[in-house]
Amino acid sequence: MSVKKLPNRDGYGHGLIELGKSNPDVLVLDADLAKSTRSDWFQKEFPDRFFDLGIAEQDMLGTAAGLALAGKIPFVTTYGVFVAGRAWDQIRTTICYAGINVKIAGAHGGVSVGPDGATHQALEDIALMRVLPGMTVVVPCDAIEAKKATISVAEINGPCYLRFAREATPVFTKEEDFFQIGKANVLNDGSDVTIIACGPIVYESLLAAEQLQKEGISTRVINMHTIKPLDEEVILKAALETGAIVTAEEHQIFGGLGGAVAEVLAKNNPTPMEMIGVKDTFGESGTPEELAEKYELTSNDIVKAVKNVLSRKKD
């Protein structure tokens, strides 16, 4: 199957431009990474509403908070590691504790960032953001969904975290597909097992389901683009109807999507689970393909995880 590829951060750039046209209160702040994060697309269209804060993420978050307190809708943009990690206390105390309407975009999520290596590959950001009270966390799966997510978070009055990836990845959703924050999309129905994924690895999950289908395993695939608030209903329905769950994300296996799904299942309906993700280690330099292979994030790894979970499935 041949499919068009784009970095999903492109969707962020397109979404910002659309927002810039429709809402004069939308501003964009960046910390010296405007070209890479695509916030420079907005800068070109709306130079008076773009502010570079320099390499000073903590100050950028605080400045955004002040702008939001005065009624603006600031989108702050940098790499996920530098915003979710370095400015975490600013996000916690200044923004979330006060419920301030700041939109935070973390680019370069996952090992697929590639040659830059571990320092630039955000692998903990979903965990760091979802633990904060009042925070919305969205991880779009492709460039089209990224654009929708960008536009949608502007409608929420409160802090939101958007996670993007660096690499060009398959664009497999359509403009007309339904998208609502907090409402997961079931992309492939199935009755034997469910894969719940977020980000570009959703595509790998679909490839895995296709492979499994050939082997007679009926696989449901859920695109869990919103990690918080989590669509618990779709998870519990999948647990009940398929009895086995595999989560897939380009993030540490601790605290991210897998953790969030496990919390829901443990509390309501303990269900055999496998988690695809980076296993308590840092990334390294390499091509995205080499790294996906090493860190077991490919469709083949998902197929293996499905078979493991099926072997543990209750009767």
Binding site: F51, A56, D59, G62, L67, D89, R92, T93, Y97, A98
Partner: protein, 276 residues
């Protein structure tokens, strides 16, 4: 609000000092030292400078005050109550369960606050954002931000110190309560911040250095800052930690400790007895 005479302000400062020791005594914890050193700075600001409407806390054109050193909220709560934001009696609920007067300010709990604070170093950035929004919206409100001297050891302050002049935020007035004490001792010994005026000057700020307990100097400094264009202003206010209560003055131990009953009585006698 009608500006108060210098004499009235002095009398109000005594009440504010009394509030601080009473509140922290009632709470059994809190931060009297740095609250007492900021009394003149905030009393003058709230009564004579800050354009705000207690009956309309979200008035869009109000001047904003950001308390970056959140632990000295007793002094802020006191001047807020005494300018009409909430009843003075409520001050005694400080730090108690269910109180709007949280141990460090919570903007969601108490109308009239502009931000939550407690983790140091974050206020000046918020002030810059508010000031930048004023420029974008063609609003003439001003933004004030009180910081501690020890707080200046936080790197984010200096990030924000670069941002304000970069964006020409002459509507920002930073205030440093320079009492030269922090929890572990003298700022100079814990982590030196001098030469302080030169630091701010080199970051392209207009620097005003004053005695932070002299009301006339405090008021004049706010006026000078308001009239200074194209650059943000910083008021470096030399103060005494624990000012007005002899046994608390210049003692680092009173940074975060409440007076007991006897100490409270003695403090109140000093505050109302001999003047400051």
């Amino acid at each position: 609000m009608v500006p108060q005479s210098n004499e009235n302000l002095q009398a109000i400062c005594k009440d504010v000092r009394a509030d601080i020791v009473k509140m922290t005594a009632a709470a059994g914890s809190g931060h009297p030292g740095g609250s007492l050193s900021s009394v003149e700075l905030l009393t003058a600001l709230y009564f004579n400078v800050l354009n705000h409407r207690p009956e309309e806390p979200n008035w869009p054109d109000r001047d904003r005050f950001i308390l970056s050193k959140g632990h000295v909220c007793p002094v802020l709560y006191s001047v807020m109550a005494r300018t009409g934001d909430f009843p003075v009696e409520e001050l005694m609920t400080l730090r108690k369960f269910g109180s709007r007067l949280q141990g460090h300010p919570n903007v969601k709990a108490l109308p009239g606050l502009e931000s939550s604070s407690g983790s140091l170093g974050q206020g000046l950035s918020i002030a810059n954002g508010l000031a930048l929004a004023a420029k974008l919206n063609n609003k003439s409100y001003r933004v004030y931000c009180l910081m501690g001297d020890g707080e200046l050891q936080e790197g984010q302050i200096w990030e924000a110190a670069m941002t304000a002049p970069h964006y020409g935020l002459d509507n920002v007035c930073a205030i440093v309560d320079y009492n030269n004490l922090q929890i572990d001792g003298k700022c100079d010994e814990v982590m030196g911040i001098n030469p302080l005026a030169k630091k701010w000057e080199s970051f392209n700020w207009h620097v005003i250095e004053i005695d932070g307990h002299d009301l006339a100097q405090v008021l004049k400094a706010y006026e000078e800052a308001a009239n200074h264009k194209e650059q943000p202003s910083v008021i470096i206010a030399h103060t005494t930690k624990g000012k007005g209560v002899s046994f608390m003055e210049n003692v680092a131990g009173w940074h975060g400790k409440a007076p007991n009953k006897e100490e409270l009585e003695k403090a109140l006698q000093e505050i109302y007895g001999g003047g400051i």
